[in-house]
């Protein structure tokens, strides 16, 4: 068998599968964003009843609708803010954890890393549900928080079905994605650099801010991309932990596809999300490459 035939025999099956079940559906979604809605929702059929224009035609109607009504841009902005806050909080929780693992004894590192990943492998819904219990109005935690607030004379606040609950859920679910790239980076740092800084008179916080942190920036960017991008499109967490006004762009996409059944408009929203996701991934890669120069 020629090497060329061999290459196709090996790479052909997965390539073919992913072309059919990933590339083509994505391409169809792009087309769908320029199509009309069908009579019973979904997409207008390519053949059948309807004006010729609706059947074969493409339209910018859904894109116009997106830009005419600011509510959708506002929702993207809101999702962007939630994802940003989530990323920053993940960084704040993950950094000390990753640093602690990287500086602990070599024998323990493997286990400590595994312990970070283990919860990630449990079902996503279970992890969100756990916060439903913790933040629920009758839970010990919610009563304790409101007890403390009460001593300061503040009104009790509902924790569940609030933006706070959504943020906690987002941070909880995405935390491992921040810890791992940070750890992989921090573990490679040469301890001699810190010794040198100390010998030259740097205090603990100076050693951190002027040696450890700048060196860890590639890990920070990688972690930020891994948290920010999935957080941007999430719909289940606001759906379960958020209140009625807690919806994000993912929820609207879900509504357009399953409830309103306006697939062209749902596709437009998905397209914008795709462009943002790829844009941020590219930005993270670009920044990481510049850092290395």
């Amino acid at each position: 068998m020629s090497p060329r035939a061999q290459k196709w025999l090996i790479s052909g099956p997965p390539l073919g599968y992913l072309l059919v079940f990933f590339a083509i559906p994505t391409f169809i979604m792009v087309l769908a964003s320029f199509r009309y809605v069908g009579e019973l929702g979904g997409l207008a059929p390519l053949v059948g009843s309807g004006t010729p224009d609706e059947l074969a035609g493409l339209t910018l109607e859904s894109y116009q609708r997106f830009f005419e009504d600011t509510i959708y841009l506002e929702l993207f902005l809101k999702s962007f803010l939630y994802a940003t806050v989530t990323t920053l909080l993940c960084l704040a929780v993950a950094y000390p954890l990753a640093l602690m693992i990287a500086r602990s004894d070599k024998r323990w590192r493997e286990l400590l890393v595994l312990l970070v990943i283990l919860p990630f492998w449990s079902n996503f819904l279970i992890r969100v549900y756990a916060w439903m219990i913790i933040l629920g109005p009758q839970s010990g935690f919610a009563r304790a928080v409101n007890g403390v607030l009460g001593t300061f004379g503040a009104e009790p606040i509902p924790l569940l079905f609030s933006p706070i609950a959504v943020i906690i859920g987002l941070v909880y679910v995405h935390l491992p994605f921040m810890v791992l790239p940070l750890y992989v980076n921090l573990e490679k740092h040469d301890p001699a650099l810190l010794d040198a800084a100390q010998d030259l008179g740097a205090k603990a916080w100076q050693r951190f801010w002027r040696v450890t942190f700048p060196l860890s920036l590639p890990g920070v960017y990688a972690g930020a991309a891994l948290v920010f991008i999935p957080a941007l499109g999430i719909f289940a967490i606001p759906d379960i932990l958020g209140g009625t006004d807690g919806i994000l762009i993912g929820n609207v996409i879900k509504q357009q596809f399953l409830d309103a059944r306006d697939w062209p408009f749902g596709s437009v929203l998905s397209m914008v999300l795709t462009v943002l996701a790829i844009g941020f991934a590219g930005l993270a890669a670009w920044v990481a490459r510049r850092q290395r120069l």
């Binding site: 997965p14 979904g42 996503f124 279970i126 499109g233």
Partner: protein, 257 residues
């Protein structure tokens, strides 16, 4: 060790508590003799009894198991080929197609597959779920297999070839046994990902193909009872067993290295 100050340990331990306490609470309340997940009343197996008599839940579990097994088998074959191809050849398109589904928000894959299946007139159900699950599992298997191959000593295959083995024999008798732990770990990973998937299943399932996560979701949305805790506890136990097997077979695989 000497550099880690006390605050670093405090923050680290607090982070571990943040990761584990919620899951511990779910498990503890699955044994609680109360309908409310609020206060400890007393120990009971009651919710496990409810769970095992819940026909809908059991059907969902069977569906999930079947989908997981089929998905795991097919995506392991395709993912191993993809991982081997990415290691062996300089390819441009395949790595992009393998890695993008992992990188983009899951909802995008869910909705595009929904449009696709409706367009080709495939009734949404078990088949559409399996086809979707395979699409996102291939990448994870490919990454595990490729990382296993990267750690491989190239001279072993060369030695086999020098001793007269055909390329296929060299692959089957030398390379394949050496990367087998990676393949098995990839298969377990695909099984776990399939059993746990909610978002993509949510868009590609039909009314007669409810999976365990979909059933859990509707219970969370409509009426929460500690039965959800019981099924969650069993599901976590299953995942834990699979993870332990996977780490034995291929250390590092679980971390997606």
């Amino acid at each position: 060790m000497k550099r880690s100050s006390w605050w670093l340990y405090t923050a680290g331990i607090a982070a571990y508590l943040f990761l584990y306490l919620p899951l511990v609470i779910v498990v503890v309340f699955s044994f609680n003799d109360s309908r409310l997940n609020a206060e400890w009343v007393g120990f009971t197996w009651h919710w496990y009894g409810v769970l095992f008599n819940d026909d809908q839940m059991i059907e969902a579990a069977w569906n999930s198991l079947l989908i997981g097994l089929v998905t795991s088998f097919i995506s392991t074959v395709l993912g191993t080929l993809a991982g081997y191809a990415m290691y062996r050849y300089r390819l441009r398109l395949l790595p992009v197609l393998v890695l993008t589904p992992i990188a983009i928000p899951e909802i995008l894959m869910g909705v595009s597959l929904l449009i696709f299946f409706v367009m080709i007139n495939l009734t949404l159900g078990m088949v559409s779920i399996v086809l979707s699950h395979i699409a996102f599992c291939i990448g994870f298997v490919a990454i595990v297999v490729r990382s296993r191959l990267t750690g491989l000593d190239e001279s072993l295959t060369e030695a086999a070839r020098d001793l007269g083995a055909t390329p296929w024999e060299a692959f089957r008798l030398v390379t394949l046994p050496l990367i087998m732990p990676g393949i098995v770990a990839g298969a377990l990973m695909a099984f776990t990902l399939s059993i746990d998937d909610f978002v993509i299943t949510f868009f590609t399932a039909g009314p007669d193909s409810v999976t365990l996560p979909l059933q859990i979701y509707s219970m969370i949305k409509i009426a929460v009872t500690p039965e959800v805790n019981a099924v969650s506890t069993l599901l976590m136990l299953l995942t834990l067993v699979l993870i332990v097997i996977a780490t034995r077979l291929a250390p590092g695989a679980v971390r997606g290295e």
